[in-house]
């Protein structure tokens, strides 16, 4: 097959981040672009989140996920951004070449810049190493919502246990309730619910027992679930298991490719412009880390789309002269993981903590603390740290971000 003409930019994934980036590129006069989406419709994960809150910042309106997804798709359409649906990107090659599967046959596309905006998903049962048999009726929230809001079908259970108490578990409980499904209980493996108070009270308001320190050991029954066994040995009768949260970037493309991955986020490692280890590839949205709101991902996509436009127009510093950032004590991850050495740095770090902390956030180069910020936060909250004023001493290669008590 002769190579198809190159695009200026291709965007993999037409979710909030991808559409945000496409709109930014377009508004900067970069017209030779396209959105590559493996599903039939644009909009990404919100398509099957049949509940608010979506769109407050982008559209100044409280929307449900599907309504928000439609608005996003509409915005891309109105801006004349070509959408190539049912285009599954299968592989990334150095310099911006992509292999795709399409219903018309395989394609190879090239672009001067590519954005990876493939989102995140919840950890399924296998990744959690939950033992037992393999019956029908073990789902993630994403699949549950797809049953209810995309396919308009009832999931294969009527009395599930709900595992996890992250925010997304509340979406799960709402969806179940709306569809007349009454969970048996909510299980949290840790000592306290993860969702912040007062949202953490929600299961109790629905009259559901919440078991703490209740890690799932095995799922029993075949071909359907009959019960679950907890690690403390007790057994709960149920006919399904809904596994919520524990998001992980859907970073298959990056993981299978030449791009460097962050072991902390499990997504591609980027610099403050969203550039990955191959400067032809950028990444944005929940691909970078799991998980932020749709609105956050949209604006992040827009910001990184702007940087892609800068880059295409010759306005980004050449890659190469960089500082690396490592999460230290008390830090689960930091995004970006690399900083092009420019002045000012024009970087805002996004962090998550490993445990609740009350103390200081330090940015350290070797033994020298370059920056101190007061810190009161917890793992489920996003922490932002602006580095514009930071002046790393000449010769600095690594910065460590850590919590100091």
């Amino acid at each position: 097959m002769p190579p198809e003409p190159a695009y200026d930019a291709l965007i993999i994934g037409a979710g909030p981040a991808g559409i945000g980036a496409a709109l930014a590129l377009k508004s900067r006069g970069i017209h030779n672009i396209a959105l590559l989406e493996r599903e039939t419709d644009a909009g990404g994960t919100p398509r099957h989140c049949g509940h608010p809150p979506f769109g407050l910042r982008e559209f100044r309106r409280l929307l449900t996920g599907p309504a928000y997804a439609k608005r996003l798709a509409r915005a891309a359409f109105d801006a004349n951004i070509p959408l190539l649906p049912r285009h599954s990107v299968l592989a990334l090659h150095p310099g911006g070449t992509l292999d795709l599967a399409t219903p018309e046959g395989p394609r190879t596309l090239t672009a001067r810049r590519v954005l990876i905006a493939t989102g995140a998903r919840e950890a399924p049962r296998a990744a959690r190493l939950i033992g037992g048999e393999r019956p029908l009726g073990v789902l993630n929230t994403g699949a549950l919502q797809a049953y209810c809001y995309l396919e308009h079908k009832a999931p294969p259970f009527t009395r599930p246990v709900v595992v996890g108490t992250e925010l997304v578990s509340l979406s799960a409980l709402l969806t179940l309730r709306r569809h007349g499904i009454h969970p048996v209980a909510v299980l949290e493996s840790g000592p306290t619910p993860v969702a912040p108070w007062p949202l953490s009270l929600f299961p109790r308001l629905l009259g559901l027992p919440v078991h703490r320190n209740a890690a799932l050991a095995s799922i029993n029954g075949f071909p359907r679930v009959t019960s679950v066994t907890l690690q403390n040995g007790s057994e709960l009768a149920c006919d399904g298991v809904l596994l919520t949260g524990r998001f992980t970037p859907e970073s298959t493309l990056a993981r299978m490719s030449h791009l460097a991955l962050s072991t902390a986020t499990k997504g591609p490692a980027i610099d403050q412009y969203g550039r990955t280890s191959d400067p032809a590839f950028f990444a944005a949205g929940n691909q970078l880390r799991a998980i932020e709101t749709a609105g956050w991902c949209f604006f992040e996509g827009r910001r990184i789309g702007e940087f892609m436009a800068d880059d295409l127009q010759g306005g980004l510093p050449a890659p190469g002269d960089e500082l690396t950032l490592t999460p230290g004590e008390g830090i689960a991850y930091v995004v970006p993981q690399r900083l092009a050495r420019v002045s000012p740095l024009r970087a805002t770090l996004q962090l998550r903590l490993t445990e609740p902390a009350l103390g200081q956030l330090h940015v350290r180069a070797g033994d020298t603390v370059l920056l101190r910020r007061p810190l009161i936060s917890a793992p489920e909250r996003r922490v932002l740290l602006e580095l514009d004023d930071l002046r790393p001493p000449p010769g600095t290669q690594h910065l460590t971000i850590e919590v100091a008590q």
Partner: protein
């Protein structure tokens, strides 16, 4: 009225049904599960063995050699894949290293003459990701990987194409020989056949007792658990890593799969249940730790799937074959850990015990197995597939539709998975299960949805 009733559609029963159908016999294959491969054959390591470490002179070795040869001969016509990985029997201690020459000698005695000893440097050059603790190894070039589900499916499809009959969800509950012929009672009605072939795997002893009054062996189910790593892991290992064999089992293997994953397992857990193929957290963690120890770069590799298979082991190591010519009975049992390789050979062996002449099918058709191997063209490479349903395993709507139709459609999720790989990838249905529920509505039992929405 049939010439042959084969009870059990595991890999052995499927191969036997094909062999007798090609010989021109009227064959019925009876299976209690919702689909073929509902027992031991549901989960294995998918290695096409050479027999290098099989007991010399044994029937097991003969069947493995014959089964392997026939697989290699027919596979292209049935569209069945082969991934020629070779295997390394890896020695991690001086003791293990000391055993390698004897294993090489046994391989030679078994007719596997292309094995070679490799020293540490040669191994590390071959597999740079291997832990530096490796001592030495034995290269067995002929150990290959196949698709453990498409192969038996293709055997049955060919049997069906030449006139065999298959009944699933049909359990044999009683068997009487009247001096000329067998009368079988099943959960879906009676069947009559001249010859009974017991390929009932994990229930082989029960069936033998039903048919002959007493069983000459007892099944001692031995479960093997596995962990499947993400497809990204395959770039770390292109060869099967076998342990120096233990007395009881083949030990824990780290191997690529034909589907492009990396697999570690199986464990060897004695249990009473013949059906509960459950995994347990501790064993899974131990398997992962083992994999990390062999290939340290696996450390950050995500886990894609967990499963277990149950070996139809008996009180003895060897195959438990029983031939009762007067009662027209052939038992092919205790096919513990080499049945995928040996199935076609066992079928040849059973045919050699059978004396009745039939007119062989002159030019049998060669139905095509699903094309699921990662290293070969898949369905999505051909235009007109509609849409991709399972994104992780790149399963098309055309493939799903094919699996739900034809002479042996899938009637449960397990059968659909084995025919297409849908939901077997890293997201385990996060993206596609609901869509699959729509595409399979009315076709699967149990269904993927709750039929009457509350």
């Amino acid at each position: 009225m049939f010439d042959i009733a084969v009870v059990g559609a595991g890999v052995v029963g499927c191969a036997v049904a094909r062999r007798f159908a090609l010989m021109g016999a009227r064959v019925v294959l009876l299976e209690q599960g919702p689909d073929i491969l509902s027992g031991a054959s549901k989960g294995n390591s998918a290695i096409l063995h050479t027999g290098f470490d099989a007991p010399p002179g044994s029937l097991e070795l003969a069947c493995m050699r014959a089964g392997r040869a026939e697989y290699l001969e027919i596979r292209e016509r049935l569209g069945l894949p082969l991934l020629e990985t070779g295997a390394i029997v890896a020695a991690w201690s001086d003791d293990e290293q000391a055993k390698l020459p004897a294993i090489a000698a046994q391989a030679h005695a078994n007719g596997v003459t292309d094995v070679t000893l490799l020293d540490r440097a040669a191994l590390l050059a071959r597999i740079p990701t291997l832990s530096p603790h490796i001592k030495a190894g034995l290269l067995v070039p002929g150990e290959h990987l196949i698709d453990p589900w498409s192969a038996p499916l293709a055997y049955v499809l060919q049997a069906l194409a030449v006139g065999a009959t298959v009944h699933r969800r049909t359990q044999v509950t009683a068997a009487r020989f009247d001096g000329a012929c067998w009368q079988l009672d099943t959960t879906t009605g009676p069947f009559r056949a001249t010859t009974l072939i017991n390929a009932a795997g994990l229930f082989g002893d029960h069936l033998e007792a039903l048919a002959l009054g007493e069983a000459s062996f007892t099944i001692h189910p031995r479960k093997g658990q596995f962990v499947v790593f993400d497809k990204a892991a395959t770039k770390l290992l292109a060869t099967i890593l076998l342990p120096v064999p233990l007395e009881r089992t083949k030990g824990i293997v780290l191997t690529p799969t034909i589907f492009g994953n990396l697999l570690v397992g199986p464990t060897a857990d004695e249990q009473d249940s013949r059906t509960n193929a459950g995994t347990d957290h501790q064993s899974l963690q131990a398997l992962i730790a083992r994999a990390h120890a062999l290939i340290p770069a696996l450390e950050h590799m995500p886990v894609t799937a967990l499963y277990a298979g149950i070996r139809p082991a008996t009180e003895r190591k060897e195959y438990r074959l029983r031939h009762e010519p007067a009662r027209h009975y052939i038992g092919l049992n205790g096919i513990r850990s080499t049945g995928l390789t040996a199935a076609l050979g066992l079928a040849q062996h059973a045919a050699s015990l059978y004396q009745t002449p039939h007119t062989p099918i002159a030019t049998p058709p060669w139905p095509q197995a699903p094309k699921l191997a990662e290293h070969l063209p898949r369905d999505h490479h051909q235009p007109g597939y509609g849409e991709i349903i399972c994104h992780c395993e790149l399963v098309t709507r055309r493939e799903i539709e094919a699996a739900l139709t034809g002479p042996l459609p899938a009637t449960d999720l397990g059968g659909l998975k084995r025919r297409t790989r849908a939901t077997m990838g890293r997201c385990q249905g996060f993206y596609c299960q609901a869509h699959l529920a729509t595409l399979t509505a009315g076709r699967l039992d149990p269904p993927l949805e709750t039929p009457h929405a509350p």
